[in-house]
Amino acid sequence: MTLLVTRAVTKRFGGLLAVNKLDFEVDQGAIVSVIGPNGAGKTTFFNCIAGFYSITAGEIELDGQPIHKLRRDQIAHLGVSRTYQNIRLFANMTAMENILVGQHHHLKSTWIGTVLGTRSVKDDEKRAQEEAGRLLRYVGLRGKGDLLASKLPYGDQRRLEIARALANKPRLLLLDEPTAGMNPAETSQLTEFIRNLRDELGITILLIEHEMRVVMGISERITVLDYGEKIAEGNPAEIQSNPRVIEAYLGRGGAADLGIAAGGASAAGVTNPGDPGAPTV
């Protein structure tokens, strides 16, 4: 079943065509990556899906429902959560509070109820706290709930951002370069973690990533963007062997690098990068 569909999505900033007529699909329960050179329009595409930008033309549907005209909070209510390339936590709130804000629309307390301290508000709040504590532990931040988000080390901030996104109980999780700035050990932990999110919680994951080891290791499908256009789509093996991808990504003659970076990560093995006519779907 298809969860997310975009049809001919276009985003134009003045004279710059950032995303050009992009057709794209994500299956329910899949892990899909969007890759491409810097400035290819990956983050812009994410921003279009999450409602940060209104798209110039095209349609975006989540589970059959058009979402491209909705506000960000409405899109979040439908079960789309995201993280950011440069971490954007609520810096002066504690880790716990960050997660609690993430649960915002799952809580029902009204302001009058909160002031009066009604039973239902108290229960609501108690459940929210328990859930937040559980999420903290789930991402490995046990005991750090009372620390301000800005005081957490970098890796913990990344985890907290994911925990906040999970608090919304998402169906679709958009991760924008989650391993940026992480060392190899942390990166492989996070890769495993992302896989678990899908396997254990059934969350569909859409990923922007530069680290080829991660992309090739966990993606079921990969879409490659360049200059706002989709230039290739397929499983990791297909992408690695696609000459257009290699050219866009590394320039002519850089093919070997992609092969090395992906070596061993792909179950299908590495086809000869120079091999012409590889399927692009």
Partner: protein, 582 residues
């Protein structure tokens, strides 16, 4: 001169850090010059001559002299920090003070040749006479020598061992504070019938010499005893629960004092504290909008006006009164109308961000003020003549202790407590978290599911309702409402209280209101310089204490958490996959 200075002459190799070159005299000169600029500024702007009229200790020292001497001693204290040995410190302090004093001397000399009055009104013969102790140009050397002595003295005090310096500095500071608040402190003594005591300690607006000596002695002895007994260390050694318990009686005493305060202070001060209480209430109201949701609303006065005029129209016994109902009937309507206004004005502008919102709301305040005084609404609101004869909220005979502003004080106190409670409850819940999230990063807040318009509008409407409440009580306090009461400074005062006190902090707002409303009301000498001090206070806060005087626990946690966090985290290498969601 203390022993270590004698043992360690300048540049001696017995110093702790012999490789370090000795005191940097250019820094000292710079400090002195800055001090000089400040001193000349204080003189020419008129602070020194105006404050000179106020006796701090009768016949000994005036407030103006304190300002002048302070501007000489403080550079000395700063310069001393740059020096390494005690002897160098004293020399450095003296030098910095000398430069500061020298600048004032220069001012006197220049003033004797050129008539500075053409440009600076305050460069009067009285100023020069004060600076030179009545000697005129012949005494031009006096400020320089004062600077030298005071700078060296301040430097010397700074180098005293802590157990001597601390009581000394506190004692001097206490004289300054008690002297400043002499009128306020004298009132309860007088009302308690202790005329003899009052006369012994205080003159009309300052301390007597006896009073000053007594204050100094009490503070010094108290401090020394405290050090001997080691109160602070003992409290710190107590377990946390015991410390919490100790706070309960302290808070009870504080509440008791707050409750009986107007009874002690007499009518003039009752008016002042009623105004302070009213601003505390309004500060709590704006705290929701500004402190929690981060919406810089400078149109507070618009809703204040709606509240005040509503009460005027509903209750006034004079020309424009419509309904002639009691204050308490009008009050809910004042809040309701203000809230409705808040919703109407808020809806179109709340998508504007930050500074732009401030400008837009600033405009509202002005629009309302001009409307209130306009011919258009003259038949309804009375134009510039306003609405008069608004009865007091509680109708009591004029002999009752609740007759005057005292009742307003209590009313504002009660409502202030209600608003504070409300803000505190909301902050801990879903709505409050959403507000703070919006303050932190509204794009992300929306993306995690917070409806921005709804949430911001709620903050804005609540702020508006409490502004209306403030306006209503204000109308009750003054007994009339004019367009001239609806001015920008209401908005600015309230915003400054919230910012200076500490955004989002309840005690911070109380302190902010005391500093920014209470003190200027108490010191009539300050009136002309009120906004100068506001500006200085705001700039100083932003530079040195951006979190406010008494920051909220979160802001404070931000300051303290850094000490513990690294240690905790260093030992923790929990892999991200551990502790799965079973």
């Amino acid at each position: 001169m203390t022993a270590d200075a004698v043992a360690a002459p300048v540049g001696s190799t017995t110093d702790v850090a012999p490789t370090e070159s000795s005191t940097d005299w250019r820094d000292i000169a710079k400090i002195g010059l800055i001090g000089g600029a400040v001193a000349i500024y204080l003189c020419l702007v008129g602070i020194v001559p105006v404050f000179h009229a106020r006796q701090l200790i009768a016949g000994v020292i005036t407030l103006g002299q304190v300002a002048l001497f302070g501007s000489m001693a403080i550079p000395g204290a700063f310069a001393a920090r740059k020096a390494r040995t005690t002897r160098e410190a004293v020399i450095a302090g003296g030098a910095a003070g000398l430069i500061t004093g020298g600048a004032v001397t220069l001012l006197v000399l220049v003033g004797s040749v050129i008539d500075l009055r053409a440009m600076f009104l305050n460069a009067s013969p009285e100023l020069y006479s004060m600076l030179t102790m009545g000697l005129g140009v012949a005494g031009a050397w006096i400020p320089a020598v004062e600077g030298l002595v005071l700078g060296a003295l301040a430097a010397g005090i700074g180098r005293l061992p802590d157990h001597i310096r601390s009581p000394l500095v506190r004692g001097l500071f206490a004289i300054l504070i008690v002297g400043l608040f002499a009128g306020l402190l004298r009132a309860p003594l007088m009302s308690a019938g202790l005329f003899q005591v009052a006369r012994l300690l205080f003159t009309g607006d300052g301390l007597t010499v006896t009073g000053a000596v007594l204050v100094f002695a009490v503070v010094v002895i108290g401090r020394v005893l405290r050090q001997r007994v080691g109160v602070a260390a003992r409290v710190a050694a107590l377990p946390v629960e015991r410390r919490e318990q100790l706070r309960i009686p302290a808070i009870a005493v504080l509440i008791g004092i707050i409750l009986v305060l107007p009874l002690l202070l007499g009518p003039f001060f009752a008016q002042v504290i009623a105004l302070v209480a009213l601003y505390v209430l309004m500060g709590f109201g704006l705290n929701i909008t500004l402190g929690l949701a981060g919406l810089l609303d400078l149109g507070f006065v618009a809703f204040f006006a709606v509240g005040a005029y509503t009460v005027g129209l509903f209750t006034s016994l004079a020309e424009y009164g419509l309904l002639d109902v009691p204050f308490w009937v009008a009050l809910p309507f004042a809040m309701l109308f203000a809230a409705i206004f808040g919703a109407i004005l808020g809806l179109p502008i709340l998508s504007i961000r930050g500074d732009y919102l401030a400008i837009a709301t600033l405009g509202f305040g002005e629009i309302i003020r001009i409307l209130a005084g306009s011919n258009l609404l003259l038949p309804l609101l009375g134009g510039p003549r306003g609405i008069i004869n608004i009865p007091k909220p509680i109708d009591v005979p004029s002999t009752s202790f609740l007759a005057g502003p005292v009742q307003i004080y209590y009313i504002a106190l009660v409502f202030g407590a209600v608003v504070a409670f409300l803000a505190w409850r909301l902050r801990a819940g879903r709505i409050g978290r959403a507000w703070v999230a919006i303050r932190e990063d509204e794009d992300v807040a929306e993306a995690v599911g917070v409806n921005l318009i709804q949430t911001k509008l709620l903050a804005y409407i609540l702020g508006a309702a409490f502004a209306g409440l403030g306006g209503a009580i204000f109308a009750g306090l003054v007994g009339s409402i004019f367009p001239s009461s609806i001015n920008l400074f209401v908005s600015i005062n309230v915003a400054a209280i919230v910012i200076v006190g500490g955004m989002g902090s309840i005690p911070g707002i109380v302190l902010g209101a005391l500093f920014l409303i209470g003190i200027p009301e108490l010191f009539r000498e300050f009136t002309d310089y009120r906004f100068l001090f506001y500006g200085a206070a705001l700039i100083g806060m932003m530079l040195y204490r951006p979190e406010g005087i008494w920051p909220s626990s979160i802001a404070r946690r931000e300051l303290h958490v850094g000490d513990e966090a690294p240690a905790m985290i260093a030992g923790d290498t929990t892999p991200i996959t551990r502790g799965g969601m079973s």
